[in-house]
Amino acid sequence: MVMETVCPAGTPAALRAAVEAGAHSIYCGFADETNARNFPGLNFSREEMAAGVAFAHARGAKVLVAINTYPRAGAAPLWHRAVADAEASGADAVILADPGLLAHAAEHHPGLRRHLSVQAAAANADVINFYADSFGVKRVVLPRVLSVPEIAAINAETDVETEVFVFGGLCVMAEGRCSLSSYATGLSPNMHGVCSPASHVDYAEEGGELAARLGGYTIHRVGKGEPAPYPTLCKGCFTSQGATGHVFEDPVSLNAEQLIPQLAKAGVTALKIEGRQRSRAYVAQVVRNFRAAVDALAAGRPMPEGMLARLSEGQAGTTGAYRKTWR
């Protein structure tokens, strides 16, 4: 059986590119703070979502709508409307994180398949089974902090499908609870849907170096010709106790394409590609690459060699926690 590729789309054009490149499923969100990629110029209107679902369904692909931020007190109707509109658009599932919103969806939209977002940071079988028993969750997107053996152990203890990230931006924080960006900008990744919001990002060429700032704080300085990173605090270069370096994590991207056979053996159902903020050119290339990989696996052929490094932050890839022990 072919593993499912779950591919990003920040715009209708990217959705079409993903479908044409062979995506089994596309995840996307509405153009507001109900999804965790609430960036300028990105995301879908209600009409675009319905058209996108129709386009995908006509070509045998599914659409999963990410409504994966946490509703603010007093503003829950915005999130409730998003779930209702996702169902009305014909979406195949919603990707949720907030227990209150999961309960609302289970009660008012019982026929709408519910996936648990990585924003819920559900990293063990007990909590995953709790979400399944309480809210009928059918699939969990696992946090990017687990090794392959840990994923296999989880799959042995739950009937909930698991989906894991295989490519793109690498977040190693307790997703849905991380406040690093909030401290620097006043806007929350978890409630406003913006980690390192562009409105607070500033790049400046200074003395031959590129300085990258977030909320006025300098996160990086890189010399001429060095790869430029996003100014995210978790990937910043800091001086601590006399040593200067990437204290939390290196500015590199996840690339686990060579681990796909091991992830399949560990019982993983679906492979997720990060990058709703990326262009349709990126989406097409990455999706084509991963579709070829899962098709090769299903046919018993070796994994094709990847050519995706230049698309990556820091222009360097890592297998992340899948093969790593934390320092």
């Binding site: 300028p40 110029g41 790869p227 990126y282 230049r310």
Partner: protein, 180 residues
């Protein structure tokens, strides 16, 4: 999609020098007409720009002896060509081939930024909104030229054909997909 910097052609310096005496007023008028045509045919562009549709975007092809100032002005789009950079909210700079490749979906903006082929200075949110709006519009600038008066369209087509031959950049949209 081509990978980034090794394959990004640089506009040849002698050809760039030939553009130096180009009269800016007619060029600005032609580009403004083209931009208004694009916005009319792709209303999603302005919608995706949102609050940034009043920003001034400085587009700086670093291998050409001129810069462009793009002002969406809520739909009354204006593009002006300058020899010296005017004040703007954000500067987006890179080789002409990279900028056109972004418009035509040949390159990924983040990948160009990581590789330092693309420089963003100023209002990052405005730059991001413009990038995303253009990426969704699936523009083909050569196709848009058909709206211009024949004399201007012909001159621009010849210039584009020359640029295409000299630089090797794809000046038409890539990765065609069915539209809704």
């Amino acid at each position: 999609m081509p990978s980034a910097s090794q394959t990004i052609p640089i506009f040849p310096r002698p050809a760039g020098m030939m553009l130096r005496p180009l009269p800016l007023a007619p060029l600005s008028a032609a580009l403004s007409m083209l931009a208004r045509r694009v916005v009319t045919r792709h209303p999603g562009l302005l919608r995706r720009l949102g609050a940034h549709d009043r920003a001034r975007f400085l587009i700086d092809p670093t291998d050409l002896p001129l810069v462009l100032c793009l002002e969406p002005r809520g739909g009354q789009v204006r593009v002006t060509a300058h020899r010296q950079a005017p004040r703007a909210d954000v500067r987006i700079a890179g080789p002409l081939a990279a900028l056109l490749g972004l418009v035509h979906g040949a390159y990924d903006g983040d990948a160009l930024f990581f590789s330092r082929d693309l420089v963003i200075e100023g209002d990052t949110a405005a730059a991001l909104a413009l990038r995303n709006a253009i990426d969704d519009a699936e523009l083909d600038l050569a196709e848009e030229l058909t709206a211009l008066p024949p004399v201007l369209a012909g001159a621009l087509r010849r210039a584009i054909a020359l640029a295409e031959r000299r630089t090797g950049v794809a000046l038409t949209r890539v990765a065609e997909g069915p539209a809704w």
